[in-house]
């Protein structure tokens, strides 16, 4: 095959050379990748396993995903657009992140694919060094972009999931319990920072509305100390609950916290407090008109 030498500027590393030449070369590359789809995918899957990546997945699963990635890869090379690849990357990430797949594995397999494809190009064009160079010039920037798209897509998805999980944990760790009809209990445990305090209040107010609660028992037995900011916040929570028509009973108030409240100007005689949670619940039930009867009273008299 005769080679024609053309006058063209030597491209700087990594920059795409926008010529008709490039488009034609990419088309040739894509054709090659499609023709050798089977061997290349298998080669790739083999190398993934050898590199001990994606250990969380079975071989069959790896091959299935490898196929999807491969096809999307080739498609991106062919169309030059990356939206579909981006969407796929995010979709893939959504699936594999819960399986415990990590970032370095995803980056690793994409680089392996690049290597597998590059080697197959060497094998095909090793007799035509100039052609090989030109094909690699066309391939290189696209391949970089693809690797980037997949890796970034994965990382973004991971971050999104982490944020979601953190939110869920925060919600779980501040449960608002519905114990009886119209009665909510909010046991608070541990250290409360301003952000958590705020979240507690928002959750409680939403719960009051959803459950149509008339009485709320906030138990702070498990809270060691409270600074004046958080104490203020507690008072605000009580006031806001009242605006929603609910009465708040605070239980488990330690002498230290009582002191803090007094220091910030809270009139404790205005706030309904009861010593312990049990007492608080009884008071709440009384307010709601419940009366707890001992079993003997319910049994029919003979």
């Amino acid at each position: 095959m005769a080679t024609t030498s053309k006058d063209r500027p030597s491209p700087a590393a990594g920059l795409p050379v926008q010529t008709q030449d490039t488009a034609a070369l990419l088309r040739e590359l894509v054709a090659h990748l499609r023709q050798n789809r089977t061997q290349l995918r298998e080669e790739w899957a083999r190398r993934i396993t050898r590199a001990q990546l994606l250990t969380a997945m079975t071989e069959a699963e790896i091959f299935a995903e490898a196929t999807s990635v491969y096809d999307n890869y080739v498609e991106a090379l062919e169309t030059g657009t990356f939206e579909a690849l981006q969407a796929y990357a995010r979709n893939l990430s959504e699936r594999i992140i819960p399986r415990g797949v990590e970032t370095h594995e995803v980056v690793g397999i994409v680089l392996l694919l690049r290597d597998v494809l590059a080697r197959s190009l060497f094998a095909k064009y090793h007799e035509d060094f100039d052609k090989l160079n030109r094909i690699l010039d066309a391939y290189e920037p696209a391949a970089n972009r693809i690797a980037n798209t997949v890796a970034v897509g994965f990382v973004q998805e991971r971050e999104r999931i982490i944020r979601q999980q953190q939110e869920a944990i925060r919600e779980l760790s501040t449960p608002v319990l519905q114990v009886r009809e119209r009665l909510l209990i909010l046991p608070i445990i541990g250290v409360i920072d301003p952000q958590r305090a705020r979240q507690l209040t928002e959750q409680l107010l939403r719960a009051i509305r959803t459950n149509r609660a008339k009485v709320v028992v906030i138990d702070i037995t498990g809270v060691a100390a409270m600074d004046s900011n958080v104490a203020n916040h507690l008072v605000q929570t009580v006031e806001a609950s009242r605006l929603l028509g609910a009465t708040v009973i605070v239980t488990g108030l330690s002498p230290e916290i009582a002191q803090t409240l007094v220091t910030i100007g809270v009139d404790l005689s205005e706030m309904a407090t009861v010593g312990d949670l049990q007492g608080g619940i009884e008071e709440a039930e009384r307010l709601l008109g419940y009366k707890v009867l001992p079993l003997e009273e319910l049994a029919p008299k003979t």
Binding site: R206, L243, L244, G245
Partner: protein
């Protein structure tokens, strides 16, 4: 924008439908006070479910309504304050102290019925305007 005011038995129910200007709020106050007198209402419910912001003027107006209604023998309940609005109010230091509040219309009616019942129990007829009005702090 005029707020529709309905009568239900001895009660007046004002249901706010959308954002109100200061003038609208003042107009509502006048309309309610006038009607309390005209119909000899025993209770007033103001439903603020549709309000996504309550600032100092709105709070002041609601307090005025409650105060004036009480002078004419009617108890007022504010219902439907949204959770976020309630939170914003307390953070801004706006209180409805001295004014009864309830979750929604149903709770508001239950509350007013309770007040009426208590009046009967205390020996005050439902139409009495004697001393001893309940001040809900």
């Amino acid at each position: 924008m005029e707020v529709p005011i309905l009568t239900q038995g001895q009660y007046l129910i004002a249901s706010i439908q959308s954002a109100l200007t200061d003038a609208d709020l003042s107009q509502l106050r006048e309309a309610l006070i006038e009607r309390v007198g005209r119909f000899r209402a025993r209770g007033v419910i103001v439903d603020v479910t549709a309000l996504d912001v309550m600032d100092s003027f709105a709070v002041r107006t609601l307090r005025d309504i409650a105060h004036m209604a009480r002078l004419r023998g009617a108890e007022t309940v504010i219902v439907g304050i949204q959770p976020e609005v309630a939170f914003a109010m307390v953070q801004l230091g706006l209180t409805l102290k001295g004014v009864a509040t309830a979750l929604d219309l149903e709770e508001g009616l239950t509350f007013l019925d309770g007040v009426a019942r208590e009046r009967v129990e205390r020996g005050q007829g439902p139409f009495d305007r004697g001393p001893g009005h309940r001040d809900r702090a």
